[in-house]
């Protein structure tokens, strides 16, 4: 379980390998067909947080589903920890949160986790403890005995996360984990992902919220119309090598004038000078933070 030391990097090879993946969806009664993913190759190393970015319809979900063996590829191969995605046993080490997850409305939060625990081969006291732990982690302890039909969208997303983590997988695949979740909720999810990363768990997520991806991803790939148009380490992709930002508090006008004159004396050039503003997100969080978030779940 969580206490056992992770063997991160102990197994050779990537956590996820995608090679030459193409997926064509036939359109019934029409001659043309949709190419959702075109000759895609990816390699995700153990312990990495990888973000698959792209606009709507660019093939993110399709790629994730193929990796999980839910959709069959037209061409190419995908593997999880060296095991072909088409083999059921490749799913042993993965937790998956589909986009807009929808569970059985007639089950309570607790029963939902027990069901998925059983499917993952857990039982008895170990499962019970794990369920308590996870309900706590996602802040649904107080809603555990309510049917999912009464859950809000954010709560469903969180029970979905708990469900994905139930068997303590080595790889977690999240399709738009923060879709439909409010800013505080998505910050919680971000923290949770960072915590997974700290524990050496590989995370593959899709998103079109770029600011968020920027905060958590080690590497990103950008898909457009099923083609991987960019890929690399986030810092390398977005760093502007020859620019530096300084953010200073309580600086006197005098100090700022001094800095500016120092800049103008050197070979460097001052491009922009502005007052810092807070982000709308920070403002929102500030204004609504009086409740301790994770426990306010119903």
């Amino acid at each position: 379980m969580t206490s056992s030391p992770r063997r991160s990097g102990a197994e050779a090879g990537p956590a996820v390998a995608v090679r030459g993946l193409t997926k064509v969806f036939p359109v019934p009664f029409h001659r043309q067909s949709i190419v959702a993913v075109k000759d895609l190759s990816l390699r995700i190393e153990p312990g990495e947080v990888y973000g698959l970015l792209g606009p709507n319809g660019s093939g993110k979900s399709t790629t994730l589903k193929i990796i999980l063996g839910l959709v069959s590829p037209t061409r190419g191969r995908t593997e999880i920890f060296g095991r072909d995605s088409r083999l059921v046993e490749s799913r042993e080490a993965v937790g998956f949160l589909p986009e807009n997850p929808y569970f059985y409305k007639y089950l309570t939060g607790n029963e939902t986790l027990r069901f998925f625990g059983h499917l993952s081969g857990l039982r008895g006291v170990a499962l019970k403890n794990r369920i308590n732990e996870l309900l706590d982690l996602v802040g649904l302890s107080r809603a555990r005995n309510r049917r999912l039909g009464t859950y809000s969208k954010g709560m469903l997303q969180r029970i979905g996360l708990a469900q994905a983590l139930i068997h303590d997988p080595r790889l977690v695949v999240l399709d738009e984990p923060t879709a439909g979740v409010d800013p505080a909720g998505s910050r919680d999810i971000r923290d949770l992902i960072l915590d997974l990363k700290r524990r050496g768990i590989t995370v593959l997520l899709s998103s079109h919220l770029l600011a968020q991806a920027q905060e958590i991803c080690d590497r990103v790939g950008i898909l457009a119309d099923g083609v991987l148009v960019r890929e690399g380490h986030l810092q390398e992709l977005i760093a502007i090598e020859n620019q530096t930002e300084l953010i200073i508090t309580d600086a006197s006008d005098e100090l700022i004038r001094e800095i500016e004159s120092a800049v103008s004396r050197s070979k460097a050039k001052l491009i922009e000078r502005r007052k810092s503003t807070t982000t709308l997100e920070r403002l929102f969080l500030e204004a609504t933070k009086n409740d301790k978030r994770m426990t306010k779940s119903e």
């Binding site: 959709v71 046993e89 799913r91 937790g95 089950l107 059983h118 081969g121």
Partner: protein, 294 residues
């Protein structure tokens, strides 16, 4: 927590089975049983005017007919939505993203339905036997009162007539066969739902199969009279028999009501036929489900 992966796990199937039962229970399909109870009560009130032989006959006729109809209905309606709903709601994604082979999912689902049908059949059968027993006791009492002065052997004869017209040994195999017919229908519904475009489609197709299935034996005999039994005819008939199971073969109610004995051979043959069809349809459903794009 990483355990060795098992390609087949009764534990996982059990989880899906239990979930199916929970789902159907919470969707309140058991309300059908209340309707059955009403039919039973209604018919006993209606029958007060008949002689006891007629009364027991009608009671058995109506009750067994109702058990047969309700289990069939339950089998079709409860099964039709299971799979399409899981695909539409994408709950299947979360299930199959766990290490669950697709055949375990199908097996878990069908087992859940068969259990539901078993429970329903048992409850209805128990209610029916109880009512029959109570009516029999009532008639026994009246007979005793009416014949209070008669010699003992005459009285014993009269009671034997009452008892034999109420219960006969055929009731239980008859109900078993009704249950097997429902199992067959459930498995066939599951199979149809793997390629159906909507729940309505599945239910309409099943209603169609239900009626054809009751007629097909007669039609087949007629056909064989007209045509010689060549190879093509045989293949054609085999396909028809596969798609439209001979449901009339599962209709033993008339025999039970008439009190004719169901021979062990007939019972065994029908039971095997039911199990065979159920297995075949489950396999076909699994097969189609494996090829299905979710």
């Amino acid at each position: 927590m990483q355990t060795r992966y098992r390609p087949f796990s009764l534990w996982r199937i059990r989880a899906i089975t239990a979930n199916t039962l929970t789902e159907l229970t919470r969707l309140k399909v058991f309300y059908v049983l209340l309707v059955f109870a009403l039919v039973l009560i209604g018919s006993s009130i209606f029958m007060a005017q008949f002689s006891f032989q007629q009364e027991f006959q009608i009671l058995k006729d109506i009750s067994l007919g109702a058990i047969s109809l309700f289990t069939s209905l339950l089998a079709i309606v409860a099964t039709a939505r299971l799979l399409p709903q899981d695909i539409e709601d994408r709950t299947l994604y979360t299930i199959l993203a766990k290490p669950v082979p697709r055949f375990e999912y199908v097996l878990g689902r069908i087992t859940g339905v068969l259990l539901l049908l078993a429970i329903s059949t048992l409850v209805m059968a128990a209610a029916f036997v109880l009512v029959l027993y109570l009516r029999e006791q009532a008639v026994v009492h009246t007979t005793l009162r009416q014949m209070s002065g008669a010699p003992p052997d005459q009285m014993a004869d009269a009671l034997r007539v009452v008892r034999s017209s109420a219960f006969n040994i055929n009731i239980f195999p008859g109900i078993t066969v009704i249950y097997l017919k429902a199992c067959l229908l459930a498995a066939l519904t599951l199979f149809v739902s793997t390629f159906a475009t909507s729940n309505i489609f599945t239910i309409v197709v099943m209603a169609f199969i239900y009626f054809i299935g009751h007629l097909q034996a007669t039609a087949r005999e007629y056909w064989l009279q007209e045509h010689s039994g060549g190879v093509i005819t045989r293949v054609f008939l085999a396909i028809v028999t596969l798609l439209f199971p001979d449901l009339q073969a599962f209709n033993l109610v008339d025999d039970i009501v008439a009190g004719t004995a169901i021979s062990l051979a007939v019972f065994a043959k029908t039971a095997v036929l039911g199990l065979f069809y159920t297995t075949i349809y489950t396999l076909l459903a699994t097969f189609v489900f494996y090829g299905k794009e979710l």
